[in-house]
C-alpha cells in the first residue's frame, strides 16, 4: 500500500493547490500548469533563436573537416570493409551495460532512503529486483559482451 499511498498524498497536495488557486482567482485547476507551459515556450523560443541567429552572426570557414561525420575530429573506426562486413557494436554493448547498472542505482536510491519504513517486504522486493537485473548481466557476460577484442 505504501507506494500508492505516498503517490496519493502527493496528488492530494497538487489537487489541493489547484483548488486553492481556483478559489482565489476563480479560474480552473489548469493554472498549476502555467509554469510548465512557460518553460516549454522559453525552451522553444531559445531553440528557434539559436538556430536562426547562428548562421547570421557566426563566421563561415569551409574546410575538409566540415565534411567529416564527426567534426570533433575522431573518425569512427574501424570502417566496415568495402562491400560489407560487420559494423562494430562494442560501444553499444558497453552502453547497454551502463544502462543496466544505471537503472539499478536509480531504483536503489529511493529504497535506501525508505529502507526503514518499507521493512522486510521492501528488502525482499529489492533483492528480487537485483536478482532480476543480474540476469541480463550474466547473459551479456557469458555471451562475450565484456570481451573487447
Amino acid at each position: 500500500m505504501l507506494v500508492p499511498d505516498t503517490a496519493r498524498l502527493g496528488a492530494d497536495a497538487i489537487v489541493a493547490s489547484g483548488q486553492l488557486a481556483q478559489s482565489e482567482s476563480g479560474m480552473t485547476g489548469l493554472e498549476s500548469y502555467v509554469p510548465l507551459i512557460l518553460l516549454i515556450a522559453v525552451a522553444g523560443a531559445f531553440a528557434v533563436f539559436s538556430v536562426t541567429v547562428a548562421p547570421l552572426v557566426g563566421p563561415r570557414r569551409y574546410n575538409k573537416a566540415k565534411l567529416d561525420p564527426y567534426e570533433c575530429g575522431i573518425e569512427p573506426s574501424p570502417q566496415p570493409v568495402v562491400g560489407g562486413g560487420r559494423v562494430p557494436v562494442k560501444f553499444y554493448l558497453t552502453g547497454m551495460l551502463f544502462i543496466l547498472f544505471d537503472i539499478e542505482m536509480v531504483f536503489l536510491y529511493p529504497y535506501a532512503v525508505a529502507a526503514d519504513s518499507v521493512g522486510l517486504f521492501g528488502f525482499v522486493s529489492v533483492f528480487i529486483f537485483i536478482v532480476a537485473i543480474t540476469i541480463p548481466y550474466i547473459y551479456e557476460w557469458l555471451r562475450g559482451g565484456l570481451e573487447w577484442d
Binding site: 496528488a11 485547476g29 522486510l120 532480476a132
Partner: protein, 532 residues
C-alpha cells in the same frame, strides 16, 4: 478486498505492523501465478541462452516455453475453478483479476501456445523462420553465408514469453502506471522480434524500426494522457478516475485531453484506423510466426486494456467521448475494407483485414454493456485463432526465395494442394463471417450488443464494410480454385508437427466456436464484470 486464498506474506506478522502503512501489500499469489510462471520461465530462458552450448539451445528453449505455457495454463485452470465471481484486486489494487481478465488470460495463453508452436517450427524452412545471427548486416557476404546455416537466434523464445507476460498483465492492470509498464513489457520484445526474419532481412529490419518508432510515439501519447489524468483525478487508479469524473467541478479539459491521448496509445496497439499505418508494413516484414503472434495476441491485449479503461474509468462520461470513437470505428472499418481491396500481397491483405476487424471490435468495446464486453471478448478469441491459423498457412506456400506472398503466386493453388487451399478457404470464410464459422458468431454477438445499446446506424455501416471486405477474401478463393497454376509457381511445403498442430488448433477452434459457440459464450457472459 476480497481474496479466495490470500497468502499474505509472513513478513507482515513478524514485523507486527498494520497493513497499508509501511507493511507489505496483500498479494494473492495463487491468482497471479500464471503471470509469475510466464515471467519466471522467460528469465530462466535468458539464463539458459547464456549457459547452454549453441546446439542444445533450440530444443531446451522450445521445451521450456511449452512447459511454461502449459504450467501457466494449469495454474490458471486451478484458480478459475475456484475463483470468486465478482473478482479480486491484489498487490494494493495494481492488478484486478476478475472475470474479463481471466477470460482474456485464457485466450492469451491458448493463442500464445499456438504462436510458440509456429515460432518453433523448423521443418518448413530449414532452421526456422528466424535469422541465425541478427547482428550481421543484410546483403553482405556473411549474410548470404548465414542464410545457408540451420541455426536460429533462440532468444526468440524468452522474448515471446516476456511479451506474453506483458500482455497478460496489461489485461489485468487496474491502474494506469501498471498498464504503462505492461504496455512497454509487451511492446519492446515485439519490436525486436519483428526484425529477426531469416529471409528478406531488409524488409524485416525496416518493419522493426517502423514499429519501434511509431510504437514509441504511441507510448508517449499514452504517458502524456496518463499525466493529464493524474493531474485531473490526483490518482492513477482507474476507480479513482471514475470517482473524480463522476462528481467534480474540476476542468474537463484535463479529463478529456487525458482520455484522448490515452486512447490514441491504445488504439495504436490495437491497429485501429486511423492509427493503423504501421500495420501493413510490419505484418508484411515481420517473420510470419511473429506476425501471427502480433495479430492474435496483441489485439487481445490492446482491446482487453481498452475495455477495462473505458468501462471502469470513463463509463460516466461516455456521452462526451462515444461520438469520437464512433467516428474512429467507421474510419477503421472503411480503411480496412477499401484499402484491403487494392492489396496484392497476402500478408498485407490480412493486415488490412485486421484493421477492418479492429473497427468491428471497437463497436463492441464502446457498447459499454455487459453484453458488449462479453461479445468483444468472444470476438477476440474467435478472430485470434482464425488469424493464427491463416498466418500458419501463409508460411507454407513457398518458392525458392522463401514465402510466396504475392497473390498472383497463389493462383491455382487448389490444383497443387487441395487440402491447404480448402483450409485457407475455410479460414477466409471465417474472416468474412460466413455462418458455421466462429467469425459469424463473433460478428453476430458484437452487432447485437451494439444494437441493444442503440448503435444501429454504426451496425449498418459495419455490415456494409463486411460486405466490401468479403470481396477481397472471396477473390483469393476464386484465384485459388478457378485459375491455372503458373509453371514456376510456388510449392506447398509439408508442414512439420508444430505448424500442423498450430493450424489444426486454429481451424478446430474456428469450427467449434462456429458450431457450438455456447461453450465459450457462456463463460464470456457469466460472472461479474470488472472489479476495481
Amino acid at each position: 478486498m476480497l481474496t479466495s486464498s490470500v497468502l499474505t506474506s509472513g513478513l507482515l506478522a513478524q514485523q507486527g505492523q498494520p497493513p497499508g502503512q509501511g507493511g507489505a501489500p496483500e498479494i494473492d499469489y495463487l491468482a497471479i501465478l500464471p503471470i509469475i510462471i510466464i515471467f519466471g520461465a522467460a528469465a530462466v530462458g535468458v539464463l539458459l541462452e547464456a549457459v547452454l552450448p549453441k546446439h542444445q539451445r533450440w530444443s531446451v528453449q522450445v521445451g521450456l516455453s511449452i512447459l511454461a505455457i502449459v504450467g501457466a495454463g494449469l495454474a490458471f485452470a486451478y484458480y478459475v475453478s475456484d475463483a470468486p465471481t465478482e473478482g479480486i484486486t491484489t498487490i494494493a489494487g495494481a492488478l484486478s483479476i476478475d472475470q474479463p481478465a481471466l477470460f482474456l488470460w485464457g485466450t492469451l495463453l491458448a493463442l500464445g501456445f499456438g504462436s510458440i508452436l509456429l515460432i518453433a517450427d523448423r521443418s518448413v524452412e530449414p532452421g526456422g523462420a528466424f535469422v541465425a545471427e541478427a547482428a550481421i548486416r543484410p546483403g553482405t557476404v556473411q549474410d548470404r553465408a548465414q542464410a545457408q546455416t540451420t541455426g536460429m537466434q533462440t532468444e526468440v523464445f524468452p522474448l515471446a514469453l516476456f511479451a506474453l507476460g506483458g500482455m497478460m498483465t496489461f489485461c489485468a492492470a487496474n491502474d494506469l502506471l501498471t498498464m504503462f509498464i505492461a504496455l512497454e513489457v509487451l511492446s519492446l520484445p515485439l519490436y525486436l522480434l519483428c526484425g529477426l526474419a531469416r529471409r528478406r532481412r531488409l524488409l524485416s529490419q525496416e518493419a522493426a524500426v517502423k514499429y519501434f518508432l511509431l510504437g514509441a510515439f504511441a507510448s508517449a501519447f499514452f504517458l502524456y494522457g496518463l499525466a493529464l489524468l493524474y493531474g485531473y483525478a490526483g490518482s492513477v487508479k482507474l476507480a479513482d478516475i471514475a470517482t473524480a469524473a463522476a462528481g467534480t467541478d474540476r476542468s474537463d479539459a484535463l479529463l478529456f485531453g487525458g482520455l484522448g491521448l490515452l486512447v490514441v496509445g491504445l488504439l495504436f496497439k490495437g491497429s485501429v484506423g486511423p492509427f493503423h499505418t504501421w500495420t501493413p508494413d510490419v505484418y508484411q516484414g515481420a517473420p510470419t510466426p511473429v506476425t501471427a503472434f502480433m495479430a492474435a495476441c496483441t489485439k487481445v491485449a490492446a482491446f482487453g486494456g481498452m475495455l477495462r479503461v473505458l468501462t471502469v474509468a470513463f463509463e460516466s462520461t461516455s456521452w462526451e467521448w462515444r461520438g469520437v470513437l464512433w467516428g474512429v470505428a467507421i474510419v477503421s472499418m472503411v480503411i480496412g475494407a477499401i484499402l484491403g481491396l487494392t492489396q496484392t500481397d497476402v500478408k498485407r491483405m490480412i493486415a488490412y483485414s485486421s484493421i477492418a476487424h479492429a473497427g468491428f471490435l471497437l463497436i463492441g468495446t464502446i457498447a459499454l454493456t455487459d453484453q458488449g464486453v462479453s461479445a468483444t471478448m468472444f470476438y477476440l478469441l474467435a478472430y485470434g485463432f482464425t488469424t493464427l491459423a491463416a498466418f500458419g498457412v501463409v508460411s507454407l506456400v513457398r518458392d525458392s526465395s522463401g514465402e510466396a506472398t504475392h497473390l498472383s503466386q497463389w493462383a491455382g493453388l487448389a490444383k497443387r494442394s487441395p487440402l491447404i487451399a480448402a483450409v485457407f478457404t475455410f479460414l477466409l470464410l471465417a474472416l468474412t463471417g460466413i455462418p458455421l464459422t466462429s467469425g459469424f458468431v463473433g460478428k453476430f454477438v458484437v452487432f447485437s450488443a451494439a444494437i441493444e445499446d442503440g448503435m444501429a446506424p454504426l451496425v449498418v455501416i459495419a455490415l456494409v464494410a463486411s460486405a466490401v471486405a468479403a470481396f477481397f477474401y472471396l477473390r483469393v478463393i476464386v484465384l485459388m480454385y478457378f485459375s491455372e497454376p503458373a509453371e514456376d509457381g510456388p510449392t506447398v511445403s509439408v508442414p512439420g508437427t508444430f505448424t500442423t498442430a498450430a493450424i489444426t488448433l486454429g481451424v478446430a477452434v474456428t469450427v467449434l466456436l462456429g458450431v457450438l459457440p455456447t461453450v465459450v459464450l457462456d463463460w464470456a457472459t457469466a460472472g461479474g464484470g470488472f472489479a476495481s
